[in-house]
């Protein structure tokens, strides 16, 4: 795994019930086509991005999402 420097983005667990949250996200996509999933995810990302607010965190999350894709 590439070296990711520690910045503003939290990298350790921040969820009390991680399995519940993970499954809630997956379940929320149930019954949606691929295109509908894209539309759903776009809404979710925008809602969460506004809630987070911190641009440094968001940029770091965008980079992390992209970088981890390049590794697979």
């Amino acid at each position: 795994m590439a070296e990711i420097t520690t910045g503003a983005l939290r990298r350790t667990l921040n969820l009390a019930r991680p399995d519940d949250v993970y499954n809630a996200i997956v379940d929320a996509h149930r019954g949606l086509s691929d295109e509908q999933c894209r539309a759903f995810d776009a809404r979710l990302i925008l809602l969460l991005a506004n809630h987070v607010g911190d641009e440094a965190v968001l940029h770091e999350a965008l980079r992390a999402a992209r970088e981890t894709m390049e590794e697979t």
């Binding site: 894209r38 539309a39 776009a42 809404r43 990302i45 506004n50």
Partner: protein, 528 residues
């Protein structure tokens, strides 16, 4: 077809064709919005100019219709802005629709206390008409209609033009040539200068109509309306009960087919309903490009407006950007011509206005990407933003149907003196445009009207400053009391601003210091 009567301005045989030639300080090519504005700004500073145009009338079609506050403030110095405001449609409100439902309203000028509104909608032909009339009444300006430039020969000390007229050709010598001749600039072509940039493929249809029934006054923008379900539509009111309807057609539309009156009428009928009556004024199918020259100053030839940079129409940044260009240029060129500044001062015209053009292109490209998404992901986020906007106010701020033109910042310009005092709570810092405010005993005057023709020193407080030590030509304005001006400039007593002739802040201090002001004036004029 048009309700506007196009006047033909008188062609006069140029004196050169009668054997009387003289070297001109400034020759301007192009009588659109920028060229005559530059000529007027130069005349204000005592600089004569000749304006050449191959045509003899104003803009064919409404073209640039949204005249922004800062353009009106520029034109006000020549006494033509109030006429534009009276004739045009003042609007500050806009409304955005998704499908058939309003999503939200916006107000572009939330605060009162400015002489001019955020925008006045007025067809370009009226703007040009008023500017032409003002130029024709100005002894220092010679308007030469039906004078077509066919050759440009720059040298170290000036430029020689070959000009064709109905009476034959002549040579014209100029110390400086300013090309304000539009996106297809003849001067740029004759000099074989590249115009790099990006081409966009989406087609749009502009239909100007005179609606013979009640008119909306505000700007309206629809995404996916029932009368044009696959794309967006923009509606803008202009003078003379004319409406501009701008339909996004997509990249595959056939321009000739779309331009047919019966096809336009079909769309308009769906839009305005069975009762509406209208007449066609002007129709145009367009695509657009974003381009910018590498250097706006090429020796003794200077490029301004669409000749130097061009953006998409979203945000009204073409015409208004051109006016800001010539406002920036005029005082510098006038100082260079009377040897009050080195020619290198004009380099700052290039750096400041290129930065502005970049900002305009960035803004307009972002609007373009929002209105016409280029990928499935981009479209998904755009549509997600639209559908969130009604219930989630944050998403309204993300909707980008055009970020409307405001004066661009010029941070880090070599002409400006960076802030030394760090305790500024608000107010325009160096590189920012001035803000207007009501001033005077009863608040009936305007701050911008108090400014001098060249540099202005603006002080706040109840005591006079020792302004006798300031460089000659600097106008001093003192703002007493506790009004809006003091608030907008964070103007506690002693606060001093140095304002450039183009109404940008060059420097500011917490106390009056004549030596510091003089140094900042030298710096702002390339004499530092």
């Amino acid at each position: 077809m048009s309700s506007y009567t196009y006047r033909h301005y008188e062609y006069r045989k140029p004196s050169e064709l009668d054997g009387r030639s003289a070297r001109r300080p400034v020759v301007i090519v192009g009588a659109g919005m920028a060229g005559p504005t530059l000529a007027l700004a130069l005349a204000k500073r005592g600089v004569p100019s000749v304006v050449l145009d191959e045509d003899d009338t104003v803009s064919l079609g409404s073209r640039s219709i949204c005249q922004a506050k800062h353009s009106l403030e520029t034109w006000d110095r020549f006494g033509v802005a109030s006429r534009m405001v009276e004739k045009g449609i003042t609007w500050e409100q806009g409304e955005l629709y998704l499908h058939d439902k309003p999503v939200f309203r916006f107000n572009l000028q939330p605060e009162p206390g400015h002489k001019f509104p955020a925008f006045v909608n007025l067809q370009q032909y009226y703007v040009e008409e008023y500017l032409f009339e003002r130029c024709l009444a100005e002894p220092l300006i010679e308007m030469r209609f039906r004078n077509k430039v066919v050759a440009v020969t720059p040298s170290e000390e000036g430029v020689t033009l070959e000009v064709e007229t109905p009476d034959g050709g002549y040579a014209l010598d100029a110390e400086w040539l300013v090309a304000c001749d539009g996106v297809r600039s003849t001067v740029r072509h004759l000099m074989d200068l590249p115009y790099p940039g990006e081409v966009f493929h989406d087609r749009f249809l502009i239909s100007d109509i005179r609606l013979l029934s009640e008119l909306p006054k505000e700007r309206r923008f629809w995404f996916y309306p029932p009368f044009h379900p696959t794309n967006s539509v923009l509606l803008h009111r202009q003078a003379d009960n004319v409406l501009r309807v701008d339909f996004q057609l997509g990249p595959d539309a056939d321009p000739e087919e779309e331009k047919k009156p019966e096809n336009i009428d079909r769309r308009l009928r769906q839009m305005f309903g069975p009762e509406a009556r209208w007449e066609h004024e002007w129709t145009s199918v367009y695509t657009f490009t974003c381009r910018m020259m590498e250097r706006f100053v090429q020796g003794r030839v200077i490029f301004a407006g669409d000749a130097a940079h061009v953006v998409s129409p979203f945000g009204a940044r073409g015409g208004n950007g051109a006016i800001a260009d010539v406002d920036n240029l005029a005082w510098k060129l006038a100082m260079v011509l009377r040897d009050a500044a080195p020619a290198s001062l004009l380099d700052s015209y290039c750096s400041e206005r290129r930065a502005a053009a970049q900002e305009n292109i960035l803004n307009s490209t972002r609007s373009t990407d929002f209105i016409t998404p280029k990928s499935a992901a981009s479209r998904a986020f755009r549509d997600a933003t639209l559908s969130l906007a009604r219930d989630f106010p944050f998403a309204r701020a993300l909707i980008n149907s055009g970020r409307l033109s405001v004066p661009t910042a010029q941070p880090g310009s070599p002409l400006d003196t960076p802030d030394g005092d760090a305790d500024w709570l608000r107010g325009p810092g160096p590189g920012r445009a001035m803000l207007d405010a009501p001033v005077g005993r009863d608040g009936s005057g305007w701050l911008l009207d108090r400014l001098g023709p060249d540099f202005t020193v603006l002080t706040f407080g109840d005591t006079d400053m020792p302004t006798g030590d300031l460089p000659s030509g600097v106008t001093c304005v003192r703002i007493a009391g506790d009004g809006l001006a003091r608030q907008r400039y964070d103007g506690r007593p002693g606060t001093t601003y140095l304002i450039r002739p183009d109404r940008y802040v060059a420097a500011r201090w917490r106390r009056f210091d004549a030596a510091a002001i003089a140094a900042s004036v030298r710096r702002a004029t390339g004499n530092g």
